[in-house]
Each structure stands twice: as C-alpha cells, then as structure tokens.
Amino acid sequence: MSMEIIHVDLDRSYPPRPTETTKIFWDAIAAGQFKTTRCTSCGKMTFPPKPICPHCWSDSMEWADLSGKGTLYSRTIIHAAPAIFAKEAPIHFGIIDLEEGIRIATRIWDMEPLDIGSPMRIVTLQYNDGPLFAARKA
C-alpha cells in the first residue's frame, strides 16, 4: 500500500543522515512506502530501523512493511522552536502507537488540534532536498 506524498516547497531544516541501513528506509519513504527492520531470531520489529535487534541482540535483520496506521498517544504544538526550525514554527508534533506495537514520535501534518486517541496514518513529506515523514488524522 502506498502512502500519500505531500510536496513541501522548502528544504529540510535539519536533514537526517542516511546510513547503509537507514538509506533503505528513507528511499522507501520517498517512494511512499513505510517499512522497518525485523529480527529473524526473535521476530520483533524495531523503529527506527537498526542493523541489530535491540531486544535479543541478534544481528540478523530483515525488512518488513508497516501498515502506517496507528493511534495518537499524545501531541503538542511547539511555539518556541530552535533557531534552525524558526521558519517552520509552530510545529505540531506527536506520539503515535502503530498497530504493529511500535511507538514512534513524528511531525503531525494536521493544523487543527487533534484529540488524543485519534486514528492516524503516516504520510511522506517530499521536501525540495529529500523526504521526511509525518502523521495525519486517518
């Protein structure tokens, strides 16, 4: 399933640094796909994607698709942002519990305040210089 791709006419304020592992994740995000690493020993997924399993310390990892669906656990609006992010303030930010049992924190793309417990979906933010992701009300 492909995620919504939203074009943002800005450069990313503080871009992530791709590694051999996370480049695969960011390339997938750019293509509208949300995935992470899963341990082939204990079967647990981890996020962000990692070359090792934080649960059983195995180094045998594979990629697995995430549904991109979850629930809003908490959220905030950051009015006083770091100088680097001043042009993007106020910043809507939240914690999402994905249906796969993983908790992530990410940008929220809806500008109206959302109720805690709202169903959410992950989207791609396509900035001029590369991708990020965010959550929107489903």
Binding site: Y14, T76, A81, I91, A105, I116
Partner: protein, 397 residues
C-alpha cells in the same frame, strides 16, 4: 568496610545572570566564582583542606572558556587528591551524578572529605541558539530532532496525556507554578521571587502546548559547592549535618520515548529509584517531611511526586491546587521554588536541590523552614524521567 556519608555544608550563588558578555571590560569568570564557593563551603563545614581527596564536578556548559575544568581547579586550589578529580555529564542529572560519585568516594573510603561542585554559565547564549544544541540532547537526532522537537516538548506531551487520562487541566497543573513562586518569594537565592497568580500564569505566551512561559523553566547561571565527609568525622565535629540515608538509581533503557508502548506518564524510573532509596533508608514515602524534586515543568512535579508515592496517582494536580504540597501542607514539595522559580542552571540544578534539602535539615531555611524537618527526599533525572536518581537524607543535630 563502607562508611556512612554526611553532608556538612553546601554553598551556592543566587541563580540568575552571572556570566558576563565576551566584550565586557570586567569579567565574572567561572573559576573565581567556583573557588570562592569552595572556600566558603569548606569554612562552613569545619573540615580540613588536607582531608579533601575528591573533587567531582558537574561538567561546565560549552559556553564557558576553560576546558578540563576539574584538573584546572585542582591546580587553582592547590589540592592534590587520592580519590577522584573528574567532571560528570549526564544531561539534567549531571549534578546528581557528581553528588553520587562524591558519595561513593566517601562511602568506599577513598576520600575522608569529597566535594561535589560545579558552575553552569549559559546566560550569554540566546535561547534560540541554545536550542540548536539542546534539541540534539533529547530523542534521536536522525529520527526526532529532524522534526524540530525541543526538550520540553516531551514534558508537554506528558501534560497532554495526563489531562486526557485523569481529567486534569492546564489550569489545575498551573497551580504548581503559583506554589513554586510563593516558595521562591521566601528564598533569597531564587531567580524569580515576585509572587504570581493563577490568572497571570494562564495569561503568559504559549511555549509548547499546553505550557506557557511560567510553566516551563527559565534559563540561568549558578554555582554550588557541597562538602561531604565520613559520618564519624561529621560526628566528631559536633556540627549539625545531613546524613545520606538511602540512594536509588534506575534507567528504564529508553531515550526520551520507549519504542515499545508503555505508560509514559508513570515515570517508572523514579518509582524504582525512590523505592530503592526508601528501602535502603528503612523508611516509606509517607515518612518524608518534605521533598525537593527535579521538575522542569508543572506537569513533571506532579508526575514525579505521584511516582515517588508522595501523592496518589492522578491526584498530584489536585494536591497542588489544595495546597497539600505548599509549605505548611501535607508534604511540602520544592520549598526552594523549584526549577521554575528558584531557577534551573541545568548542569548544577541537582546540587541546588541538595542545597535546599541541606538548609531544611540543618534548620537554616529561614522563612521557608519546614517545621521539625527530619527526613527529606530529593531527585534528579534525565530525558523524560527516563532515568532517576533519588536520595533520602536525615537531619542529625
């Protein structure tokens, strides 16, 4: 053989703007401020310079010029040491780790007397610029910082969740800020001392929803020197002291947020750390006469006091509203004015917390003295209370 550890003296500068601009004609410099405090604290403690064998510093902010501050100070003070000369760093817990290491040195016999000390200068660096650095301290720089999240945003999300789960409100939590300011109005070293009303707290500009300017910590400079020694030496001195009766530490193995969903506002780390500290001290939460907590925002004080068993779960906000946590109430919390009003020179904040606990236990807290204060608990933390360090201290007079 291990030794019991006493706190004999704690000296601190008033919190506020101490650092001078780069182009000042006359500077106020970190080492002179620190050296004066060492001399003052040692005089107050009645201890001998020759017995000091450990200098454990809270690391300085990157905004001070002198590096390798600990060894520089050992020289500046002409102090050979058999124990430890070092700088500790552990986010907000930095000063707490300095205290813990100094305690261990006395406990293990490596030092008869140990100093836990530090200076935090940062007021000459504007907040926006400071946040360019502090945003890299919380969360994952490649998966959280990329969105512009700030350290206190995580506490704000605690508040939103608490309000959602317990039917609390920003207004209920804001009582903590009013109470803190009242306490600070009685504290000569507090950064903000003018009493404020609930309406004034609610009227401040929003910093991070649902917290406004008075519900988050100010920035400031400060310096503290604490003198610790073996209890037998403290006893022989005939002076009043505070005995470190119990200590607990716990890190939950998560940095800011657990990728495995948990009860984020249960603050498990301080639950566990305080449980260990109470157990070692042979006391219960209910035995505390007061507590001085590391709580940068209104919500953090509420959650930490609930997790320590000082308030019932979900009732911490109501306890602030009813005055249960105010001086004269059931369990006075942060009689110094706490981080929001006493001030928060972050790396030495835990040593300011010790300063207040000490003042209370030796009966020198003046107008904010907790009557018959015998047992007090203190905390320091890092992240979103991902780790906590708790000490229980007892008055020996």
């Amino acid at each position: 053989m291990t030794h019991r550890v006493a706190v004999m003296a704690v000296s601190a500068t008033p919190v506020g703007k101490i650092q001078t601009p780069e182009d000042a004609e006359l500077h106020t410099l970190e080492h002179e401020v620190m050296a004066k405090l060492v001399v003052e604290a040692m005089r107050d403690s009645g201890m001998d310079k020759k017995d000091v064998d450990s200098l454990v510093f809270a690391m300085c902010r990157p905004y001070t010029r002198q590096k390798y501050f600990s060894t520089f100070m050992a020289s500046y003070l002409q102090l050979p040491c058999h124990g430890t000369v070092m700088e500790a760093l552990g986010n907000g817990m930095t000063g707490g780790i300095a205290l813990e290491q100094a305690t261990r040195d006395v406990e293990s016999g490596r030092a008869k007397v140990a100093l836990a000390l530090g200076v935090n200068f940062e007021s000459q660096t504007p907040s926006g610029e400071h946040m360019n650095s502090s945003m890299r301290t919380t969360g994952d720089v490649d998966f959280h910082t990329i969105f512009g999240v700030t350290p206190i945003a995580w506490y704000a999300m605690d508040a939103m969740r608490y309000i959602h789960e317990y039917g609390s409100s920003r207004r209920e939590l804001a009582n903590v800020a009013v109470k803190s300011r009242y306490h600070a109005s009685l504290n000569p070293i507090a950064q903000y001392r003018k009493p404020i009303t609930l309406d004034e707290v609610m009227a401040q500009r929003e910093i991070v929803e649902p917290l406004g300017l008075y519900e988050v910590p100010p920035r400031g400079d400060g310096a503290v020197c604490a003198v610790l020694c073996r209890e037998d030496i403290a006893k022989a001195s005939g002076r009043p002291y505070a005995l470190i009766k119990g200590r607990g530490f716990y890190h939950e193995g998560a940095h800011q947020i657990s990728e495995v969903p948990n009860d984020m506002i249960a603050f498990k780390s301080i639950q566990v750390a305080s449980g260990k500290a109470y157990e070692q001290a042979g006391v219960k939460a209910g035995d505390m006469d007061f507590a001085e907590l590391y709580a940068p925002c209104t919500i953090v004080e509420v959650l930490a006091s609930e997790a320590m068993g000082l308030c019932e779960r979900g009732k911490g906000g109501k306890d602030a509203e009813s005055g249960a946590t105010t001086l004269g109430g059931r369990i006075p919390i942060s009689t110094s004015g706490g981080l929001m009003s006493r001030g928060h020179p972050a790396y030495v904040t835990p040593l300011y917390i010790l300063h207040e606990v000490f003042q209370q236990l030796v009966g020198r807290a003046g107008e904010r003295q907790v009557k018959d204060a015998r047992l007090g608990a203190m905390s320091s933390e890092l992240g979103n209370y991902n780790a906590a360090l708790v000490q229980v201290l007892e008055a020996v007079r």
